[in-house]
């Protein structure tokens, strides 16, 4: 019986992340538009976009290889699996032990590796620009993320997300300098990883400023739909990660009853709403930076993460 419930919860988690991801993207867009005094597209527009793209035919470049057609499915699979392993409304998911936080981040790394290859596949100059900038950004963002994981893992004594969330919810955690540093660094990494302003602009098609959009320029139809959905999933994943690590309140524990699960779901949705608002607010209040300022931005995140880890090596209570 318990196994069936666990299965159901894991399945529900997979569906919830898949279904709420476009909603989150729509919410952020709508909020940004409102802050700029525009009406903005409806909140449900991403769903309509996805449906439209899925129904359209794929226009494939003549020089594209089989890899180009496989990669969208691979990216989607890797991102979806990663997103379903981050606790959203309940910890102790059935398969949460199959990948710890390092493995989840590495899964996203696999997706990025594939996307960068897709950018090079058609053999256009824009694809190359996107790929080469993406790997440059990743080369700083990913070590920063690993350092953040180190900081958290040294506080908690585990890299398992369920254990981490449980520990963060308990009073044992207290106020720590290192956690503050990790939070700031994590937000910076999340912004860079999700191609948000000021690192990249998800709405731009201005040639010299694109990173993520340049890589997916040649995609169309269902392939593009999958890539957009994966991008939405990734944004949701990072928000869920920040929520479950730094504001874990309301998360249902393993073996929780129906009431606790309902509380968990509602509080999760509330956290997403707040996260979307903060993201929109941040994005509207800052300008995009030049590509070669990004290393400084991410270098700061890396240093913050390293500082957090060093503090914990010096004293476990910092």
């Amino acid at each position: 019986m318990a196994l069936i419930v666990d299965f159901a919860v894991q399945g529900a988690q997979m569906l919830i992340v898949l279904l709420t991801a476009p909603l989150l993207t729509g919410l952020v867009r709508k909020m940004k538009a409102r802050m700029l005094r525009r009406v903005g597209p409806p909140v449900l527009q991403p769903y309509l976009d996805l449906a439209r793209l899925m129904r359209k035919e794929v226009v494939l470049a003549e020089s594209a290889s089989w890899l180009f057609r496989v990669i969208p499915y691979f990216i989607f699979a890797a991102t979806w699996v990663a997103a379903s392993l981050v606790p959203t409304f309940r910890t102790g998911l059935l398969f949460s032990w199959s990948a710890d936080l390092i493995a989840i981040i590495a899964l996203l790394g696999s997706a990025r590796f594939a996307l960068a290859l897709a950018g090079l596949d058609v053999g256009t100059s824009f694809g190359g620009i996107g790929s080469s900038r993406e790997v440059m950004i990743a080369s700083l963002a990913e070590p920063a993320m690993i350092m953040i994981i180190f900081t958290l893992a040294l506080v908690v004594g585990s890299t398992q997300l369920s254990t981490m969330a449980g520990f963060m919810e308990s009073p044992a955690v207290g106020l720590r300098v290192s956690l503050g540093l990790a939070l700031v660094a994590l937000v910076m990494v999340a912004i860079a990883e999700n191609a948000r302003i000021p690192v990249d602009n998800p709405a731009t098609h201005l040639e010299l400023t694109m990173v993520h959009e340049a890589m997916v320029l040649e995609y169309s139809g269902r392939h593009l739909a999958l890539i957009e959905l994966s991008a939405a999933l990734k944004l949701l994943l990072y928000l869920s990660l920040i929520a479950c690590l730094f504001v874990p309140w309301g998360l249902a524990g393993p073996g929780a009853g129906f009431g606790a699960l309902a509380v968990g779901t509602l509080s999760y949705l509330g956290k997403l709403l707040i996260g979307a608002f903060l993201l929109a607010l941040f994005e509207t209040s800052i300008a995009k930076m030049r590509v070669f300022r990004v290393p400084e931005f991410l270098g700061a995140a890396l240093m913050l993460g390293l500082l957090g880890t060093l503090l914990l090596f010096v004293s476990r209570s910092l």
């Binding site: 003549e62 290889s65 694809g127 080369s139 990913e142 070590p143 350092m147 040294l154 070669f292 090596f313």
Partner: protein
């Protein structure tokens, strides 16, 4: 040698490989010579591989010592295969078997087979004998034999001037390394001359002596493995050899050097002091990052791969350094974790690096090009090679669910244990090492996006690339079976970790928990609540969700597809030269890291208006290690040689007086010696 023990079988295989080397001289010219030599090598290495596996997995089989009446009269030539040797026999012979299989097809293109065929089996025999040797003399002889036979293979294509330079640098560095190892064993054996490893183990050197041994072992084994700054020969020599030999040198011979280091420092030199790990860790971390940064700046495919070997050797030495640190403080279980991670990475790297060199060799045969700037679009012409190469690229970039990720994940887990170390130096060093390891892992991913993307994707940049044909069946079999092993080691790492347990037990004094009993075949280094990883499930989940998405979309939405010209924001350019090249791909990273490390400068040469010359952009890179370390030494040597040159032109009287003076000085020294 009455009983047919695994040790005897491997030794016999090595002896037969030596015989094969002589046979190769005779059959080398015949048309079937290539097939005979590589086929027999394949057979012999497979037998040795099986014997190594039996020894490694059969836990109760005691390691027997075989003493041959060769070598030093009071020692004899001793050979013994304990668990550590057995593991490295497996690594060596697995790589050798794959290379032999690959070479049956690839070697047919060799223009001067007699320059390759005799040395190839000799090289394999040398590597096997190094890991089997149980006394210092046999070890050194086998080591030198391995160096010289591989040097001959590097010089196989001696008409190319840069290969001659590679051979020269390799020879100098190899002699330097052997000299350091010679002194190492001299110190270890002590004045009594107990050169058998069993005698050395019983000797327990003093701390000062052991420290000297560590430094010399770092120089000796490190120069062969390619630790920065001793790596300079490696990116010259590895690409110069024929590709199956490059694969062996990069994937396997560097591992023999790791074996040498592990054997000397973790086994023979006694209990480590805590600062040993500081030395090893800092050099390893620098090696890691420098290796991958060098690799990113290359556009020669084989040289790029060779520089990546430097990076991976850094990763392995980070694991060994952590093991030393834990061992020094008596944390055997943590040392076991770090050492397992290191040895697993030894195996993993030998798999994917051999695979990648085979792929580069196939590309070289198909196009005659090593320069990535002249390649491109090969995925259309060589789909199977491209697939195997892609698996290798993903594995070396430490991407789940492949094998490279598992070993790096284990190293990260070991790093997370290090706050329990009491030493302050290590407390500050280890997090920095962790950051550098993470940095090099992501830079490796960037580098292999470049290597695969520029070589295999896009449009062909030369006529050679657009006319390439798929490589032969046997070479493909070798590549695809290595790719399959990369996947298997990635999704079932528990089996491999358990197989390493006896080898780790012998060196670290502890072992990791048994993994085969863990439910769902996960790996759990310490405890389930702390960290666990299940490559199999991750792989299956990804397969299922990808297939699910594909079938759902194709059924419910649309499966139509139309080919059209590329979009490229409306301005597609028909010339393949407008694609991103290898150096333009690396430009952002060159700008971020290269300006600091390589003093990279971009010089734009813009002709004045009216001048019809094209504008040029040149990139200037400085190799810091070569310019700051090797050039001063080289100029110093040549200057001293120039001074001493005058001694050639003295009269007979002057010569005699010099001899007399030397005699007097020597006698004085002897008289004054306390």
């Amino acid at each position: 040698m009455a009983a047919l023990t695994p040790t005897a079988i491997v030794l016999a295989c090595a002896a037969l490989l030596l015989v094969l080397a002589i046979v190769a001289v005779m059959v080398g010219r015949t048309s079937a010579g290539t097939a005979i030599v590589y086929g027999t090598s394949l057979l012999l290495t497979l037998i040795a591989l099986a014997a190594g596996l039996v020894q490694l997995l059969g836990t109760d089989a005691p390691a027997d010592t075989i003493v041959l009446p060769l070598g030093l009269p009071w020692v004899g030539a001793r050979f013994r295969m304990d668990a550590l040797s057995a593991f490295f026999v497996v690594v060596v012979d697995l790589g050798a078997a794959a290379a032999s299989l690959f070479a049956i097809g690839y070697g047919a293109h060799e223009r001067a087979p007699l320059r390759v065929l005799p040395f190839y089996p000799a090289f394999l025999a040398g590597m096997n004998l190094v890991v089997l040797a149980d006394d210092a003399f046999s070890f050194l002889v086998a080591w030198e034999f391995m160096s010289l036979s591989s040097w001959a293979l590097v010089m196989a294509h001696h008409h190319v001037p840069e290969n001659v330079r590679a051979g020269y640098v390799y020879l100098v560095m190899a002699s330097f390394g052997t000299l350091a190892l010679l002194l190492t064993f001299g110190l270890l054996a002590g004045p009594a001359g107990g050169y058998a490893f069993a005698d050395i183990r019983a000797m327990h050197p003093s701390p000062a002596l052991a420290a000297l041994v560590l430094c010399l072992a770092m120089l000796g084994a490190g120069s062969k493995a390619g630790l920065v700054p001793l790596h300079v020969w490696l990116p010259l020599a590895h690409p110069a050899a024929p590709s199956h030999v490059s694969a062996l040198m990069s994937g396997v011979m560097t591992k023999v050097a790791v074996y040498g280091f592990a054997r000397i420092v973790l086994d023979l030199a006694g209990e480590p002091a805590w600062w040993w790990s500081v030395l090893v860790l800092s050099i390893a971390a620098i090696t890691c990052v420098m290796g991958v940064l060098y690799a990113l700046m290359q556009h020669d495919l084989k040289r790029l791969l060779a520089y990546h070997t430097v990076e991976n050797i850094g990763i392995i030495f980070i694991a060994l350094g952590l093991a030393l640190a834990f061992k020094a403080y008596g944390m055997a279980w943590a040392a076991a974790l770090a050492l397992t991670a290191g040895l697993l990475h030894v195996l993993n790297h030998s798999l994917f690096k051999s695979l990648l060199f085979f792929g580069a060799g196939s590309v070289l045969t198909a196009t005659g090009e090593r320069d990535m700037e002249h390649l491109g679009g090969l995925i259309h012409r060589m789909p199977q090679t491209a697939f195997a190469f892609l698996i290798g690229c993903a594995a070396i970039s430490a991407l789940p669910p492949l094998n490279g990720f598992v070993s790096e994940w284990l190293i990260f887990q070991a790093i997370l244990l290090s706050p329990q170390l009491p030493s302050w130096g290590l407390k500050f060093l280890v997090p920095a090492v962790g950051a550098l390891l993470a940095l090099s892992a992501t830079l490796a991913a960037a580098c292999f996006v470049k290597a695969f993307g520029v070589t295999f994707l896009g449009r062909a940049r030369s006529t050679a690339a657009s006319a390439a044909v798929e490589t032969d069946r046997l070479s493909l079999t070798a590549m695809l079976s290595l790719a399959a092993l990369c996947l298997i080691a990635g999704i079932l790492p528990g089996l491999f970790i358990d197989a390493l347990a006896t080898a780790v037990q012998g060196l670290a004094g502890g072992r990791m928990p048994v993994q085969t009993g863990v439910e769902w075949l996960s790996i759990v280094p310490i405890a389930q609540s702390r960290s666990s990883y299940n490559g199999l499930l991750v792989f299956l989940f990804m397969m299922i969700s990808g297939a699910l998405a594909a079938s759902a979309i194709h059924r419910l939405a649309s499966d139509r597809l139309r080919r059209a010209p590329a979009w490229d924001c409306g301005y597609p350019d028909a010339s393949p030269a407008t694609q991103y090249s290898a150096s333009s791909f690396a430009q952002p990273i060159r700008r971020v890291f290269g300006s600091m490390v390589f003093r990279a400068r971009e010089q734009v040469e813009m002709p004045p208006p009216g001048d019809l010359r094209p504008a040029r952009l040149a990139v200037v890179l400085h190799d810091p290690v070569w310019e700051m370390l090797y050039l001063p030494v080289a100029t110093g040597v040549s200057r001293a040689a120039e001074r001493l040159n005058h001694l050639q032109f003295l009269t007979i009287r002057q010569f005699l007086s010099i001899v007399f003076a030397a005699l007097v000085v020597l006698l004085l020294v002897l008289a004054l010696w306390p």
